[in-house]
């Protein structure tokens, strides 16, 4: 069973081919890493999968179904959920309202014009806030959170959609090492019904989480393989830093 299949997916911005003829198959239940230097097209590829951006070429299949023509909200209802590289939250709303907005669509009555308790959605919200370590901050406006806390909240919001395909774009960026560890544990503890695609500059995080890794360079797939294959590959090292020095592969990524 494949969770996601990309066939010849491309996206141009003017003359720039940000994503160029990408083929990718991700089996259901796997944790797949997507790495590549700055500007490789990772975030753009995620947006093409989620439907935030339209493809210029190719098609996107979710669990065997062609979703290329579907809008972002429709794809989300089919089970795609993403966290963006640059936090996108409801800043004036409380932390719990942020999660509840996502949780109430699956567990509540989002169309109800009458006040409701939405106990199931609230329970789920409580669980997720505990899982990302924000239980004590639930009443704070999201705008009051630190950068690392916002990243955690992003993940809680994405998970509250109960996705079958979760796209994480640099979730650990700006997190402390302890927060990063919690993130890794959280992703590892996700049920196997959730397929995870993760973009991360912190390769340590990627190699701990991912079972397979795709390397993107100048919009094209350079290599897809196991973490050890990727680690050993000379072309990957070169693409990354224009150097064959292996140690540099593990430095923390630059600004997004």
């Amino acid at each position: 069973m494949t969770a996601l299949e990309l066939r010849g997916v491309g996206r141009q911005f003017g003359a720039l081919r940000a994503v160029d003829d990408v083929d990718l198959t991700v089996a259901a239940g796997t944790r797949h890493g997507l790495i590549g230097p700055n500007g490789a097209g990772k975030s753009t590829l995620f947006k093409l999968i989620a439907g935030t951006l339209r493809v210029s070429a190719g098609s996107v299949l979710l669990a065997g179904r062609d979703v290329t023509g579907l809008r972002e909200s429709q794809r989300a209802r089919l089970g795609i959920s993403q966290t963006l590289q640059h936090s996108s939250l409801f800043l004036p709303l409380s932390v719990q309202q942020n999660v509840l907005l996502a949780a109430q669509r699956r567990h509540g009555n989002p169309g109800s014009l009458w006040p409701r308790r939405q106990a199931a959605a609230r329970d789920r919200m409580g669980e997720l806030l505990a899982a990302v370590g924000l239980s004590t901050r639930r009443s704070a406006p999201a705008g009051d959170l630190s950068h690392g806390e916002r990243r955690q909240l992003e993940i809680a919001v994405a998970l509250a959609c109960e996705p079958s395909l979760l796209l994480l774009d640099e979730p650990a960026a700006g997190m402390s090492p302890a927060e990063g560890d919690r993130l890794v544990e959280l992703v590892q503890a996700l049920p196997r019904e959730v397929t995870v695609l993760i973009v991360e500059h912190d390769l340590d995080v990627v190699f701990r989480v991912a079972e397979s890794v795709t390397v993107l360079h100048l919009g094209q797939v350079l290599l897809t393989g196991s973490p050890s294959q990727v680690r050993e590959s000379a072309s990957v090292r070169e693409a990354y830093l224009g150097t064959a020095d292996r140690a540099e592969l593990f430095v923390q990524g630059g600004p997004g």
Binding site: E72, P92, D144
Partner: protein
């Protein structure tokens, strides 16, 4: 794990205070005809009607983030509908009112499916244009609206067969309908649907990626706001027994938006205070100000925008809520 209940202490602690103040205000308003002269009673009735219009607009402006400059159109359509029905069919409450709300909703549905596709300044311009269009329509459709003469000689509303001619009785009628309309919007605002509207206001793209279709929610909000504005228009007809094109013109729409902004958008109760101020300056002080009412309103507006960026409601909020800071 903490229960959702203690998570909400911040809001629940302030709730009894708010409820107590609300109850006091309602009791005070109910006592008005017993202690206040008929002329002043009528002014307070006008404030209530304008406040209902402002609250319905706040559902769009403050809660959904759609600043409308054409909201008086639905108010006016409600007023004309109620007036025409009262003259030609029946004056028996609540028929003219319900028809007014229905007409407001219908007109909002017919125009909203276009308007809510846009946002921000485009929404403002589009609603302005729609408002002008409906204004022109009212002016030229003389057989129904009376053109620039307006619709006059409207009989008094009847309740179970007896007409409400006394100012006090009419005031209670206005107050009762205002409270119902306000309560409906309060409930909607506290509902899951209301939460979705706030989500759209604060981050519409994110709502889409969470699987919501903002268009549907915005359209329902627009229709609901149109219905309550129509209801307020029906009340206007009952109170002043005269409808003119000024009631659905640009000035009324702009004053309603002014009331929302100076009162505090998104709070529902703030715009009621804003409406009171606007009506007092326009109607009560206006004659004494030598026609400089709009000038005074303009000054009040500039002052609030500078001194109270969140309106009057921001004053009450200062004690419990800091504005979320923007960390770099």
């Amino acid at each position: 794990m903490s229960t959702p209940a203690d998570a909400e202490t911040v809001t629940t602690r302030t709730r009894p205070v708010g409820a107590a103040i609300g109850l006091l205000v309602v009791v005070g308003l109910a006592l008005v005809p017993l202690f206040v002269a008929p002329y002043e009673t009528t002014i307070i009735g006008r404030i209530l009607i304008f406040a209902l219009l402002a609250v319905s607009l706040d559902l769009l402006v403050g809660i959904t983030g759609l600043p409308s400059l054409g909201h008086a159109a639905y108010f006016g359509i409600g007023a004309y509908t109620a007036g025409w029905l009262t003259i030609n069919v029946t004056a028996e409450a609540p028929i003219p009112l319900l028809a007014a709300a229905g007409a407001g909703a219908l007109a909002a549905a017919a125009t909203g499916w276009l308007a809510v596709r846009s946002g921000g300044i485009f929404f403002l311009m589009l609603t302005l244009a729609i408002g002008e269009l409906i204004f022109q329509l009212a002016q030229s459709w003389e057989s129904v609206t009376g053109g620039s003469n307006g619709l006059y000689g409207i009989p008094a509303v009847q309740l179970a067969g007896s007409p409400l001619v006394l100012a006090g009785l009419r005031y209670w009628y206005v107050l009762a309908v205002f409270l119902i309309g306000y309560a409906v919007l309060r409930l909607v605002s506290a509902s899951p649907f209301g939460a979705v509207l706030r989500g759209i206001r604060d981050n519409e793209p994110r709502m889409r990626s969470l699987g919501y279709s903002p268009f549907r929610y915005k359209l329902v909000a627009f229709v609901l706001a149109g219905a309550v504005a129509g209801l307020a228009g029906g009340l206007l007809t009952a109170q002043q027994r005269l409808v003119t094109t000024a009631d659905l013109g640009f000035t009324t729409a702009a004053l309603a938006l002014l009331a929302v902004v100076i009162g505090g958008a998104g709070t529902l109760w703030g715009p009621c205070l804003g409406a009171a101020l606007v009506v007092l300056i326009r109607d009560a002080l206006g004659p004494r100000l030598d026609g400089h009412g709009p000038l005074v309103l303009g000054l009040v507006f500039i002052l609030t925008v500078y001194l109270l960026p969140r309106g009057f409601a921001g004053l009450a909020g200062l004690r419990f809520r800091r504005r979320p800071a923007e960390p770099a």
